[in-house]
């Protein structure tokens, strides 16, 4: 049955749908303190004494290498670093009893003073003995330069606060062990990352681990990685020789998953009076959280390197920091560093336009890169002026430019194409089975896989089964993130199909569909690709703000370079879905903490996820400049989470006259003078 039809019948198979005889339900007693020593634990089934592994980084933005002093312990090792950190595990053959057992675990703590604010953390004593500073990353990009004294300087402190990824299906795993092989069913973006991580954490040979992806109910960056809870579930399955299930609650998700954003930038943009940008200086500070294992070691560098935006930036010197705080580790969230970088440079450019009393889009045109070049911060910036000219036309900016409530964003999206991707096509009994290394979690790769196979091999869609990830069926793979799958995953499928075609041509003299379907063919392709590709985009947003500081987004339009659009319905869905997340980040989404590091947000509504009545209908037009990859496509999945917050922040700034430097923008900040 086709996937859509299965899902609308309620016949999808998500991880919590799996039932097995003798299954154990796993639960975690979690820290109630942001920072404390653990003095005593009683009433638990598993503690660090027995389960003393460390979680190594896997997934998007993972840095290579084994555990370090800052690695996340699977269960707390005498110390807790954030509220929600797993301290001890309990289990039962019944879900409800497992919940009861969590409450019966007693943990004695000696609370310590929490470090909540990343900038304050830089001034505080080191969080851990043996660690010199709370800055776990401190690197410079670009080169020191002396600005012209006659240059204008725009100086801002810009903040994107932490937000939860909030897929509607929380995290979850089922693990089973037969005495030799560990099999894991998991909600994931990358079955191979999970396998690699489990192998390292449990010190098991990779071929004794099989990871199977089940239907995955959204992920948005979160589910590329391995989590402490998954390691404990596997350990327990092996210890008890019984299947083990762990399903995250929403509250656990908000406390202890891997939230994204959480970045502060202190930047100075230099420009001549005619609007030409001459340089950029300052720092970017990522709120890493208490341990590594997320993306905090990668994101400050990635953000700093992109700070030229889509502009010609002749000089730059930026310090990139990642700082320990008493929060859950920062992780990738849709865009993962891209939205932050573009937000920072675009807010500065809007500020410059105001200073010069110039139209902000005209200013962008002046600074758009006329030729492709490598910015002093290290990223290749593709020539962007011609694209911007067509964006102005396609988004009908002239019609909007005099409006009091319009915002415009110009962005470059760097695709995580480097690393390539894998695919396997197996033909038997007249059907095609396809496995791919990147595991879809709401992007519906199955649809374009079928389109491409129809083109390459002439096979009709109903003869193709696009299957979920399974490490026993596919020897290697990377993952679905970084707007990469329409580029490298699709190309792996195309190349594998072409290889089968060649074999048929060799054997039968020419390719026929009959020869394909009558034969047995099996082709694995790891499509290698070393380059980071990019594409350009623009957004236009209008918004009204009422007397209570409430924002209503009126229009939200996108113009993105998607190369060849493999599946227009899906591309529109990606745009609208990302745009709602972009509006959410700008208006309502935040994981807030008090001064003791206690989380203030404990439900998905408090976390600011927006419903249908609070967002407009979205519009998208495609620019189609083909990529050099076999699929000719360019990913756009992260473009709306990059562009929408920029354009909406500007629209609100124009509508209210208040300088916007932080997301989310709180209604109380937007109250007209005299009303607050």
């Amino acid at each position: 049955m086709e996937l859509s039809e299965k899902l609308v019948r309620g016949e999808g198979r998500f991880v919590d749908d799996i039932q097995m005889p003798g299954m154990l339900y796993l639960g975690f007693a979690r820290s109630q303190y942001a920072r404390a020593k653990i003095l005593k634990i009683s009433g638990a089934h598993l503690t660090h004494k027995e389960v003393n592994f460390e979680v190594v980084e896997v997934g998007e933005g993972a840095t290579e290498g084994g555990p370090t002093a800052l690695s996340h312990p699977v269960l707390a090792n005498g110390y807790v670093g954030y509220v929600g950190q797993p301290v001890a595990a309990v289990y039962s053959d019944d879900r409800y009893t497992a919940e009861d057992l969590i409450d019966s675990v007693e943990i004695e703590y000696e609370p310590l003073k929490a470090i909540v604010d990343p900038e304050e953390s830089l001034k505080r004593e080191a969080m851990y003995p043996g660690v010199r500073s709370n800055a776990i990353v401190d690197r410079y990009f670009g080169k020191e330069f002396t600005p012209d004294p006659s240059d204008i300087v725009i100086e801002r402190r810009l903040v994107n606060r932490r937000i939860a990824t909030n897929p509607i299906e929380p995290r979850g795993i089922v693990a089973a062990y037969d005495g030799n092989k560990l099999t894991v069913w998991v909600s994931t973006q990358s079955a191979h990352s999970i396998k690699e991580g489990l192998s390292e954490a449990l010190k098991m040979e990779p071929d004794r681990i099989r990871v199977v992806q089940v239907d995955t109910g959204g992920a948005f960056g979160l589910k590329g990685g391995l989590f402490p809870e998954y390691v404990v579930a596997c350990y327990l399955a092996m210890k008890e020789r019984r299947p083990v299930k762990w399903i995250e609650t929403r509250r656990e998700h908000l406390l202890a998953s891997r939230p994204g954003r959480g970045v502060v930038a202190n930047l100075k943009l230099y420009a001549k009076r005619d609007g030409t940008i001459t340089g950029l200086k300052g720092d970017v500070i990522v709120d890493n959280g208490a341990f590594t294992g997320g993306s905090g070691e990668f994101s400050p560098m990635f953000i700093a390197r992109q700070l030229a935006g889509a502009y010609y930036l002749p000089n730059a010197h930026v310090r990139a920091l990642s700082v320990l705080t008493n929060k859950a580790p920062q992780g990738p969230y849709r865009g993962a560093g891209r939205p932050e970088a573009m937000y920072f440079i675009e807010r500065l450019v809007d500020g410059l336009a105001d200073e010069l009393k110039m139209d902000p889009v005209e200013l962008r045109l002046i600074n758009a890169a006329k030729e492709t070049y490598t910015s002093p911060l290290g990223m290749q910036v593709e020539k962007s002026r011609a694209f911007l000219e067509s964006a102005i036309k396609e988004l009908d900016y002239e019609k909007y430019k005099e409006k009091e409530n319009v915002g415009f964003a110009f962005l470059i999206l760097y695709h995580a194409t480097a690393g390539g991707e894998s695919a396997r096509i197996k033909v038997e009994d007249g059907r095609l089975k396809v496995w791919t290394g990147g595991n879809a979690h709401g992007q519906r790769h199955d649809i374009f896989i079928k389109t491409l196979l129809k083109e390459e091999l002439g096979v009709s869609e109903d003869l193709v089964d696009a299957l979920k990830g399974d490490t026993d069926q596919l020897q290697d793979g990377v993952g679905a993130w970084g707007s990469r799958s329409s580029m490298v995953l699709s190309s792996a499928v195309i190349v594998a199909a072409r290889k089968i075609k060649e074999q048929i041509e060799k054997k039968h003299g020419k390719y026929t569909l009959k020869a394909l379907l009558d034969g047995n063919w099996d082709e694995y392709e790891f499509f290698k690709y070393d380059k980071t590709e990019s594409s350009l985009g623009a957004n236009l947003v209008t918004a009204d703000v009422d007397g209570y500081g409430r924002v209503r987004v009126k229009e939200c339009l996108s113009y993105y370079d998607a190369g060849r659009v493999l599946d227009p319905d899906n591309a529109r869905g990606q745009n609208a879905g990302g745009a709602v997340q972009g509006i959410g980040q700008t208006l309502s989404e935040e994981l807030a903490f008090d001064e003791d590091g206690l989380p203030l947000i404990t439900s998905i509504s408090d976390a600011g996820v927006l419903s249908a009545d609070l967002v407009p209908k979205f519009g998208i037009k495609f620019h189609k400049s083909e990529s050099p990859l076999p699929s000719k496509a360019k990913g756009i999945g992260e473009a709306p989470t990059i562009g929408v917050p920029i354009a909406l922040s500007r629209a609100i700034e124009k509508a209210t006259g208040k300088l916007i430097v932080e997301t989310p923008i709180k209604p109380e900040y937007l109250l007209p003078a005299g009303k607050d």
Binding site: Y96, I168, V580, A612
Partner: protein
Amino acid sequence: MVSKKNISITVNGEAKEAEVEPRMLLAHFLRDVVGLTGTHIGCDTTNCGACTVIMDGKAVKSCTILAVQANGRKILTIEGLSKGREKLHPVQQSFVDKHGLQCGYCTSGMILTSYWLLKNRKNVTEEEIRAAISGNLCRCTGYDNIVESIKDASKKMEEEGDPIEEHPEIKVRA
């Protein structure tokens, strides 16, 4: 422990009897006891709507209703919409046709809320649709394709009628 209770709930037209703990949620009764896993759980706090089912003609969130509260009542789950038929229910078909789902996790609840809306309202406007599904969160689609699916389903139900007959308690479209 509080003693277990015997309950009988009519699920998709069939009586389901079981002895359950009084604290058992309706969502867990449907998923773990009856084995109908199309009802999903997303938030535990009645916010996300993934667990929406129809109880005695009303769309309700089964993660904050106890199974014992549903004793003697009639429940329609996503599985019941096309039960015993080869063809999908018009609402399900519209979600397929108009790309109203991506990951599919919120879909069961979204479809049942839409079904309840369309049983109660003819000629729904976009605003009414958005208000009606405001208790169902979707993180993938941005809602546009869901709204289009519901508009399409409204037309389909107008033309084809509702193939489900066992729910006369849901009032006819006015």
